[in-house]
Symmetry: C2
């Protein structure tokens, strides 16, 4: 089968590609080709795989041509991230809304209704003035996004659902949780500290924690996040449970628990590299996020949250040995 | 003040324009000009009012120019209707999604954050496979639209909410219920029979009822629908209660009650003009609509549902004497 991963050179996209190539099959069919569409070229290890093809450039401009290739499956992960969309309103609309619409239109015109998994986000949830978020987010909780990124992801879910209802694609939307621990450089996202307070100290670097220690977060490890995308692809439409987006499971973890896990793995010297520097602007954003997710539909697909904070830190250490001090 | 009504030559748009011109003021300010943007020119009575200006043509093409006019308030009603969007997928995206986005972008570029009321629709609600509609729709019920029209209206709500959050507009979305009794010609909408089984018999014409007599409908009269739009405009942001769309009140009425009201007003000969001709395709669509709405937010704005079926028929007779046999 021929697969397309948009955002395929990003952290999750590349990890998904590696996982699929390692499996060699998806939904019982052999994977012949994985096309990685991204602004950036594929990482070297993926570029070296003969099954990998690169489609490098703006998705919005390439969507038409991609639609003419006959993909059996699509994972649509490409997006401008939340901080960028908040800073540049037009960028978010173009990169997230227009590109998603162009991709769906191209697949529709392809005419063979490929299966598509859309990576939506827990960022669709937020506390609207007058409609606070419930203590536990359920599968039927009304999203009231409080960021342009969340709005655009939620709109993407609607477009995927309607293209699926019309039979243009076999579409499924899943909402990724805050992924921790992400590798790489710190970024400007409000959620950046969640990974940063583990990753930087383990690399011997200082890290700042902008929120109180009792702040609760809904997180998932990279491996569990990838597993959610794959399972969503492989599920029958009936098992997936309708065209509404599915919340992936989340571990509810406090900042304190993350730091305790950091200390258990990296020792007190790692823990000592984290400075508490309250930042009310970030704390206010983080308080607007859901901390508890009852992912009943995901559980029925056999998906579970990570067991605890320690497992998150251990997975990072195991998967990124070169990033440790 | 200078007002824009998109869809201003349509039934509700023209009725809203008449109501505003009759009041002469909105939110405490004198109405100097009402611009009616529509594919069709304004009805003669409105065109004759010196305060009315016409902006006739495609909203998508005119949005930029409209954005350069300095409107104090906008009622955005223009839309392709549900049956048309279901038959022509691209039309719906263009007329409902692209046009709404172009209008919002133009208002944003205008730079003075006008107040905007977006007419969304009860059509955002539907029973998704795996997520049936609850027996009573609440203000926080998750919409899972089952038509392209409903999807596009729901996306419009999201765009309005995000433009409002960013301060580009003072935006409010309200969901209109099925409006009954509509004047004019029968149309192809699945909801067409709701007005048709009253309007046609009163005009001396036969009418078909495609659903069982015990079918429940969530309806609102034209006058109450207009009142909802005006009240939403005049409410403070606090009274409106956030950026999430507000469900207008609905009278829950059975087809039997509508026919009884028809007979009470038009006599047994009017009732006898309605033939029961079950149409399972239409009945299935209608069963997917919500029948009961608990419009708590709307009640806090002082909005109430119509009292009963008889009041709907009487309002139609009072407002459209020329349409009676």
């Amino acid at each position: 089968m021929r697969l397309l991963i948009t955002g395929g050179s990003g952290f999750l996209g590349a990890m998904l590609a590696r996982r699929l190539l390692q499996r060699g099959e998806l939904a019982g069919r052999r994977i012949a080709t994985v096309v990685l569409a991204d602004l950036a070229p594929p990482p070297a290890d993926l570029a070296a795989d003969t099954r990998v093809q690169a489609a490098t450039g703006e998705l919005l401009e390439r969507a038409d041509a991609l639609g003419r290739e006959r993909f059996d499956g699509v994972f649509h992960l490409a997006a401008a991230v939340s901080a960028a969309c908040e800073a540049d309103f037009d960028l978010g609309l173009r990169a997230n809304l227009d590109s998603t619409r162009a991709l769906l239109q191209a697949l529709r015109q392809g005419g063979h209704a490929p299966r598509l998994v859309f990576a939506s986000s827990v960022a669709v949830f937020g506390s609207d003035p007058g409609l606070p978020l419930p203590p536990v987010v359920q599968d039927d909780t009304l999203p009231t996004p409080q960021s342009s990124y969340g709005i655009q992801k939620f709109i993407g879910e609607q477009l995927v659902a309607d293209h699926a209802r019309k039979g243009f694609i076999d579409g499924r939307s899943v909402r990724l949780m805050t992924v921790a621990v992400r590798p790489g450089r710190p970024n400007a996202a409000a959620s950046g500290f969640v990974s940063g307070i583990v990753r930087e100290p383990l690399a011997g670097l200082p890290a700042r924690c902008p929120v109180p220690l009792d702040t609760l977060l809904a997180v998932a490890s990279p491996r569990r996040s990838i597993e959610g995308l794959v399972r969503a692809f492989e599920a029958t439409p009936e098992a997936f449970g309708g065209r509404t987006a599915l919340n992936l499971p989340a571990l509810t973890v406090s900042v304190q628990q993350l730091l305790d896990a950091l200390e258990a793995v990296g020792g007190p010297q790692a823990r000592a590299r984290v400075q508490l520097e309250p930042d009310e602007a970030i704390a206010r954003i983080v308080r607007g996020w859901p901390a508890r997710i009852d992912a009943a539909r995901a559980r029925r697909l056999g998906l579970e949250a990570d067991p605890d904070a320690l497992s998150l830190v251990r997975q990072y250490v195991a998967d990124h040995p070169a990033a440790l001090a």
